[in-house]
Symmetry: C2
DNA sequence: GTGTGCATGTAAGTGGTTACATGATTGA
DNA sequence: TCAATCATGTAACCACTTACATGCACAC
């Protein structure tokens, strides 16, 4: 436990959580942006295949990233009047992110937490009508999300820097369409259940 | 802060997390089981559409559930020699679980955390070959999971108490099949990318 | 007699959320 | 002038994981 206070922290003592890389990734596309903008971005795209951290989490992540030298920030530029802080990725950050992206030979298992399925799984405790209603509600929500994804995809159209994000969005679009089919099939299964 | 030690705690001061209901749900099917068995169960079914808590978490959840009177436990029955603790759901617990299952008119949005998609999204930072390899790896893993789901589904076959869990497994099976298609389609998209 | 599975639990720590607090800017 | 949006941040809390510790039973 000697030397508790090193002025320059060792490059990376502990591995960063995926969230940190996701936030840094958001900054790896051309342009600078504020934490607030990052949150909206995450809501509009990341969310569909990874998840959107709380805004407070994004700010915390940005501070950590800055302390590692992976991003820099500047307060309210000459033109802009507001008290806002704009972040940009550094060369070091880009390098670290590229290392992370290229390192693993296995991205890791996907985590799915589907509350609707949890209810269906416990279906013996409630009425068939209620279960049906939940599935129907889920279908409606999914249709809404599908619309959002398609809008996001349209915005990325043609911009070459967005090529990969667009593939992710296309995947999400197909995924949501399949989610609808899955829900319909489950509705049919539910109907075939003996009362 | 008067009366810190009420012998019978008020039914539920704070809402329980979904995990608690999932664990209680595991006990809502006929039979008693140990924490260890619960974990294996969760790994074999819950995991495919919700997720499997760490074993230590399951033990913690069981203690909480017991303190609420939702489950009871007994140590090593007359026959069984080992130091194990077997849990069973109580009428109170079953009631609370049924309330939870029947209460919401909306199960809540599904959360998907797909590390592979995160890498693809950041594809501009790595090589097309590496990206392809990750997708291929994911396909292999998914095939393995599909096999597991089908095995689990086969075990539930015909048992009437498992009707709903089986629907959840059937959903999972279809979902994994669609996951494979999605991955293949993404592979095709990746190939069409200009270098 | 040794490793694997069964079985339970503690301690420490991280990741993340919600609620709260603050204030400037924009447009109806 | 009032509400919504932009913008940042703190504090408290909780959910959950990892690592560790322990020990029995059984098969090879």
């Amino acid at each position: 436990m000697a030397d508790q206070h090193t002025s320059a922290p060792p490059p990376a003592d502990r591995a960063l959580p995926a969230t940190a890389w996701a936030v840094l990734g958001l900054l790896s596309f051309p342009g600078e942006r504020t934490g607030y903008e990052l949150k909206k971005w995450a809501d509009a795209s990341l969310r569909f295949f990874y998840w959107s951290p709380a805004i407070s989490q994004i700010y915390a992540e940005l501070r950590r990233l800055e302390s590692l030298g992976y991003v820099t920030s500047r307060r309210s530029g000459p033109e802009e009047p507001r008290t806002k802080r704009t972040y940009a990725i550094t060369a070091l950050g880009r390098g670290a992110l590229a290392d992370w992206a290229g390192s693993a030979q296995d991205a890791g298992a996907a985590v799915l937490k589907h509350p609707l399925l949890l209810r269906v799984w416990l279906g013996h405790l409630t009425s068939p009508e209620h279960l049906r209603a939940l599935v129907v509600e889920h279908i409606a929500r999914t249709k809404g999300e599908l619309k959002e994804v398609m809008d996001a995809g349209a915005q990325a159209e043609g911009v070459e820097a967005w090529a990969h994000p667009q593939i992710a969005l296309r995947w999400s679009e197909r995924r949501l369409k399949s989610e609808l089919e899955l829900a319909e099939a489950m509705l049919a299964d539910l109907d075939e259940l003996p009362s």
